[in-house]
């Protein structure tokens, strides 16, 4: 199994009274609250962490969110390009520039091909549907988002894999009469594709396409349901069973000298949920096109309810949303997660999150590389698990 580091470059320096008074800490919070000198220091620290992970044998994930305290990496390809140049051996996953808010997928393909060449074939390309405040900050229509995402993915794939001169694309959402990117990607036919989703029909489509399916904080049950949908779709399509490298999971992670230290520092990560997710109702509950209208009464009457409510580090560990402890404890937690979801090829550690410091993050990465990663190699093969139809199992 691979370990990956993931850092959103959060900005936990806006005064509390400002955050409490704001309806939303994303999209609408004035950027006068972002001190460029602090932001610059944060980027220095984050790039140092990426370089350290490269030395340690941990792979790197770069992300993209816009206009908020949770993430300063709005320009993902730019950040990923720097990572590509300062590292030598780590695989780099761009998860990813938001193709649903980008106007021109051909430009995205051009950026990714360039990144693959600069990194000499270490790039992996991730897709996220996006939503919420990103629709406002990217002026992107939230209705039919998923259809638009798939068409963008198809166009990017064709741009990366076509080598015989210009081709034309006249789709439902994008048109381009003259697609011919230079350079072409280093990896042939193209870098591996990932997508972050727990939406079961989408997981099934990932399975049919052989893309890597990663979940973000899904916990045990939701993740297993998603991976089962992936495996079942491949089986039904007559495709070979997927390798474990097709499945990844992102959770909070802190590795300390002791369980007590890890849980204490892991608690600092809760800022991500308690502070950085705050968004006005028009950006989440009432964002058009996100749920079928007939499902709306139940969803609206019960609230959005997606964020965990019990944010004690111990509870997040129990729910499979955090891995925290001494190295042996964390290795045991990850192996248990792998067993319960039926296989896992990559564990993405969200460590530099919330109020966790640069020094604390680097300590965790060193311990993870030295004492956790070796315990995740050459794992026993998992027994095949029964695969009920998750689409049926998920229905009410």
């Amino acid at each position: 199994m691979d370990l990956w580091s993931h850092c959103e470059n959060p900005y936990p320096f806006v005064p509390n009274e400002v955050l409490q008074a704001a309806d939303s800490v994303r999209a609408a919070l004035p950027n006068r609250y972002c001190d460029p000198m602090i932001a610059s220091r944060l980027f220095d620290e984050i790039f140092d962490e990426h370089a350290l992970c490269d030395d340690l044998g941990i792979n790197i994930v770069t992300t993209e969110h816009h206009a908020g305290i949770n993430n300063l990496c709005g320009a993902n390809p730019l950040v990923t390009a720097i990572v590509a140049r300062i590292t030598k051996k780590a695989k780099i996953l761009s998860l990813g520039t938001l193709v649903t808010v980008r106007q021109d997928p051909v430009r995205v393909a051009e950026e990714y091909a360039t990144l693959d060449v600069i990194s000499k074939g270490r790039l992996q390309i991730g897709f996220v549907k996006s939503g919420g405040t990103e629709m406002a900050s990217g002026d992107a229509n939230p209705v039919r988002l998923r259809q638009r995402e798939w068409e963008a993915i198809d166009l990017i794939e064709k741009a990366l894999t076509s080598h015989d001169g210009p081709f034309s694309w006249e789709g439902q959402f994008f048109t381009h009469p003259h697609v011919n990117i230079w350079p072409r990607p280093w990896q042939q036919p193209r870098p591996d594709f990932w997508a972050a989703t727990s939406d079961l029909p989408t997981c099934a489509e990932l399975g049919r396409r052989g893309m890597v399916n990663t979940l973000l904080f899904g916990g045990y049950d939701k993740t297993k349901l998603a991976f089962d949908a992936y495996r079942r779709a491949r089986s039904e399509a007559g495709l070979p069973p997927p390798g474990e490298d097709r499945f990844a999971y992102l959770g909070f992670c802190y590795v300390g000298d002791t369980d007590e230290e890890a849980l204490r520092i892991g608690q600092k990560i809760a800022w991500f949920v308690t502070v950085s997710l705050k968004a006005s109702p028009q950006y989440n509950k009432f964002l058009p096109g996100q749920i079928a209208p007939e499902m709306v009464p139940k969803a609206w009457r019960s609230g959005t309810g997606r964020a965990p409510t019990d944010l004690r580090a111990e509870s997040l560990v129990t729910q499979g949303q955090m891995f925290a402890g001494n190295p042996d404890t964390v290795a045991r937690q990850i192996k248990e997660f792998r067993r319960r979801v039926g296989g896992l090829g990559g564990l993405i550690m969200m460590t530099r999150q919330g109020l966790v410091t640069h020094a604390e993050a680097e300590k965790s990465y060193r311990l993870a590389a030295a004492e956790v990663l070796p315990q995740l190699q050459d794992l026993d093969r998992l027994e095949p698990v029964e695969q009920p139809d998750p689409l049926v199992a998920a229905s009410p």
Partner: protein, 267 residues
């Protein structure tokens, strides 16, 4: 008023019908009308009302490839062709006012008169001055405050903008209708947001008698925007409705209908 079904060019359309008099086609704004809305009954004393729910709104279906105002405008030209009347009076409110304006530019020979109630649809001021409050990026309480002279007048069947404030007062069915309409409006009108950058240049083509009615307290599109709109339509008349916001038909039904009927009667 009765709710009927009509089949028009592949759309299974929900249509409110009722009243007696010359035919008035009514195009709704961001939310569909309840058949028991008081302004419909008042107007029905003087006119035969035909009020379709836009494709994708209320109980009307939306073909998969209907996703622009262009589709709606051409659909409503088909709809007018399917009516027995040689000419009708067209009333459009808010988003429906944009549709009515486009139809009047393109298909004015089927219109007797045009009445626009707080319509959106054109760009008036400079590139850094928003004319129309963004319906989807603005908090619901802010929408309600801007759209109503008195938000306390919102009630089931006539919430208008800011409807999200009233989940506790809604039935499940009403929520589904509002969600369908909200999704459809977003699909049709996200960008440019609720206007056609070219429409202003073609308003001179409107040749039927035109009345613009505007809620004096409308802060979604202000009366100043309305006056600019009226100035671009040759011979049009502009009237304010006191103590009304963006939805005068819901907030001041008597005052609105009195002005509409006077215009229908040619005075």
């Amino acid at each position: 008023m009765k709710v009927e079904r009509a089949q028009v060019q592949g759309v299974d359309l929900e249509v409110i019908r009722g009243g007696d008099g010359p035919t008035v086609v009514l195009l709704h704004g961001p939310t569909v009308y309840s058949p028991v809305a008081p302004f419909l009954a008042l107007l029905g004393r003087s006119a035969s009302i035909v009020a379709p729910s836009h494709p994708g709104c209320g109980g009307s279906t939306r073909p998969d490839d209907f996703d622009t105002v262009y589709d709606l405008v051409h659909f409503y030209q088909d709809f007018l062709d399917a009516l027995p009347d040689e000419k009708v009076t067209l009333i459009g409110c808010s988003f429906g006012g944009w549709l009515a304006t486009e139809i009047a530019v393109n298909y004015g020979h089927r219109l007797e008169q045009l009445i626009l109630v707080d319509p959106v649809g054109i760009k008036v001021r400079g590139r850094e001055e928003r004319d129309i409050v963004h319906h989807f990026n603005t908090a619901p309480d802010e929408l309600a405050r801007r759209a109503w002279h008195d938000p306390a007048k919102q009630r089931p069947g006539q919430f208008g903008l800011g409807w999200q404030q009233h989940l506790d007062a809604m039935s499940d069915e009403e929520m589904v209708v509002l969600a369908r309409g909200w999704d459809a409006l977003c699909l049709y009108a996200w960008r440019p947001h609720l206007f056609n950058p070219k429409l202003k240049h073609w308003l001179h083509r409107i040749s039927v008698p035109t009345l613009l009615l505007w809620g004096a307290s409308d802060q979604i599109v202000t009366p100043a925007y309305g006056r600019a709109y009226a100035d671009l339509i040759p011979g049009s008349r502009f009237e304010l409705i006191p103590e009304a916001g963006h939805h005068p038909e819901l907030e001041q039904p008597e005052a609105l209908v009195e002005r509409v009927v006077r215009f229908l009667n040619g005075s």
